[in-house]
Symmetry: C2
Subunit: 385 residues, 2 copies
């Protein structure tokens, strides 16, 4: 089908410079339990360089978004315990652009707070929410998708970016879409018919075969007025609480109001609070993303992001000089203690070596590392979690 958006697409792809009135919101939370002992409660996944790029996932997220927002257009939302580490990793981030949550209240409260604070400061702007701990490759394609999503957001949609599903993964939720949106500046955007939870393997295969489904990477681009309007309708108490906090945020009342209101806020994901009900009402758009994406959920997916260290598919995250492998094809070694890690005769083994805890498992069991964390917790080894 030929349509006039073709020209807009070309325009979007060649656009350079920040998008006017666009702010990125980066919720930095989540323990990354399946990446233990590399990822810890006090040093979660987003604070680590998991790709060997020299930049942590958080830094890479900011690097990726800054060209779209400009230096002042990044707002980080994180737990009070992580503020110092985040600011140390992001020395260019203005103090007022770091929102500290007194306790975790899930993604709706985090993103809603950022939206409400930005609305107080800047009025009706477009925000885009992007997790701090995802890995993305293909910056031009990423920027192009975000620019289209901003265009859809300006037209009043809650816009998300759907990731090309390269395999029938059961680790991700899916977005089902059809029908071109027809919004200027968002030529590839489609109507979202619905969101799904993580499917079973058979369902995932059906999704992939149908061509109608993309992975949900939790990226939401929306006008503050639209987001807060939906929130007022769907979750009025949460909306009112966040608005109250946001009004006090840049005043001397912040701490008092936070202490009063924050603990009572509903814990709910933005997917359930807004994306799903609004999609049912036809208010959600999806821009197909053609960039590489991974949420680095476990050591097996981490391995997939690393280059092979030999001709047997072995991977090392760290100094390869600290690893000595013999007959260990496909092994994944994270030498993070400075010690020599030697592996003899174990294919597909995963060895994660940190100064106070060691994990030895297999790539096939990577999703079950949470069991180890649970067992350590049951043994009161909280200082290692």
């Amino acid at each position: 089908m030929s349509n006039p958006a073709g020209t807009s697409s070309a325009a979007a792809e060649t656009a350079v410079g920040p998008v006017e009135g666009f702010h990125a919101v980066i919720p930095a939370g989540g323990a990354g339990t399946r990446l233990w002992p590399l990822s810890r409660r006090r040093a979660p996944k987003f604070l680590h360089d998991l790709t060997g790029s020299g930049r942590t996932l958080l830094q890479a997220t900011v690097d990726r978004l800054s060209p779209l927002t400009g230096a002042d257009g990044i707002m980080l939302v994180t737990g009070t315990h992580h503020v110092a580490a985040c600011r140390a990793q992001l020395p260019g981030l203005d103090e007022q652009n770091v929102l500290a949550e007194p306790s975790p209240r899930d993604s709706m409260a985090a993103i809603g707070l950022a939206a409400a604070v930005l609305a107080e400061r800047h009025g009706d702007v477009v925000i885009g929410s992007f997790a701090a701990d995802h890995v993305i490759s293909g910056q031009p394609a990423f920027e192009s998708a975000v620019r289209e999503a901003v265009a859809a957001a300006r037209a009043g949609y809650v816009a998300t970016i759907g990731i090309a599903a390269s395999r029938p993964s059961v680790a991700f939720g899916y977005i089902r879409s059809d029908g071109t949106l027809g919004v200027d500046g968002a030529p590839s955007a489609q109507h979202v018919r619905g969101f799904t939870e993580k499917p079973d393997a058979a369902t995932a295969r059906e999704y992939i075969a149908s061509g109608e489904y993309r992975w949900n990477a939790g990226m939401f681009v929306v006008r503050t007025s639209v987001l807060l309007g939906h929130l007022a309708e769907q979750r009025p108490e949460l909306h009112d609480g966040l608005r109250t906090i946001a009004k006090a945020w840049d005043t001397g009342d912040r701490d008092r109001v936070l202490a009063d209101v924050w603990p009572g806020l509903e814990k709910i994901a933005i997917d359930h609070a807004i994306a799903e009900p609004v999609a049912d009402a036809g208010g959600v758009a999806v821009v197909p993303g053609t960039f590489g994406w991974d949420d680095v959920g476990d050591f097996n997916s981490l391995a997939a992001l690393l280059p092979s260290d030999d001709d047997e598919g072995s991977k090392v995250l760290g100094d390869t000089g600290d690893v000595l492998r013999i007959d260990s094809a496909g092994s994944v070694v994270v030498p993070a203690s400075g010690r020599l890690v030697s592996v003899l005769g174990l294919d597909d083994v995963v060895v994660v070596d940190t100064p106070d805890a060691l994990l030895v498992t297999t790539r096939a069991r990577a999703q079950q590392v949470k069991q180890v964390v649970d067992a350590a917790r049951a043994r009161d080894l909280d200082e290692l979690l």
Copy 2:
């Protein structure tokens, strides 16, 4: 066959107290490369507690021999680098009973030096040589075998103790024997027909089936005069060198003579220098040992010596509180760094965790750990060896 030695046997088994004029020689050497990274060049196998008994192999060796020799009847031969560690582990050992070798010259030089020094000090006494890094269970049976071996030695034999071969091991040499010796006080001693090198699996099975073969644990009991006489005949230069050193040992000339003579001594095992040729001439006897014995050659044999830590045959050498296992039956974990070692979904895995080096392998590959050490050496990681 009924023979009068029956009564002597009963006498030997019930004998108590030190054996008059009997000295134990403990050559403490050998890196225990297949137990790396637990065993190191600078802290070899014999300096470690490998059974969880609370005593190192060296200490347990002395504990085992002292009842037979008395406190002053133990002579240790070790490298100069290990003298301080040995003396720290054996505070009761008299300084003059530690012979320091300037460099490794194999077992004939070590045992021959001890024999020559003891001959200078005490004349023609019986010595028994026992490795510092073997594990033995069944003290009464051990003492009984040694007492018989001493009796055979007094009769002029080079007496060895043959270990009941419980499996067709290819890791040990074998002793072939037949025909009762008929020496008073050594009722079970037999003539040795020959020694074998480590056999292949088929040969080992034939050995076991024949009933004529026992494992060679390298234990030799012999009069100093007999040993030095054989040495003078078989290896006259080595004999003369050792005699020269021994004459100077307790004088102010020791260091000068050692520096002159030691470096030129032939490197040869006592098995090749004496046991084999003398056996061919009918001069070697063997006493069947009925005690448990192992040379703890690798992590698989180490595992066999440890009690199971669960009902799945998993073993821990160290603090079980430092180990967290899920679905890892038959695993062998040595938590020697104080860190938490967690294993998920790997049966029969071997994890040896030390402060500066980690080994992950399988029980089946335990014999090949030397490959890792060789690879580390090739990478100039000498400080870890």
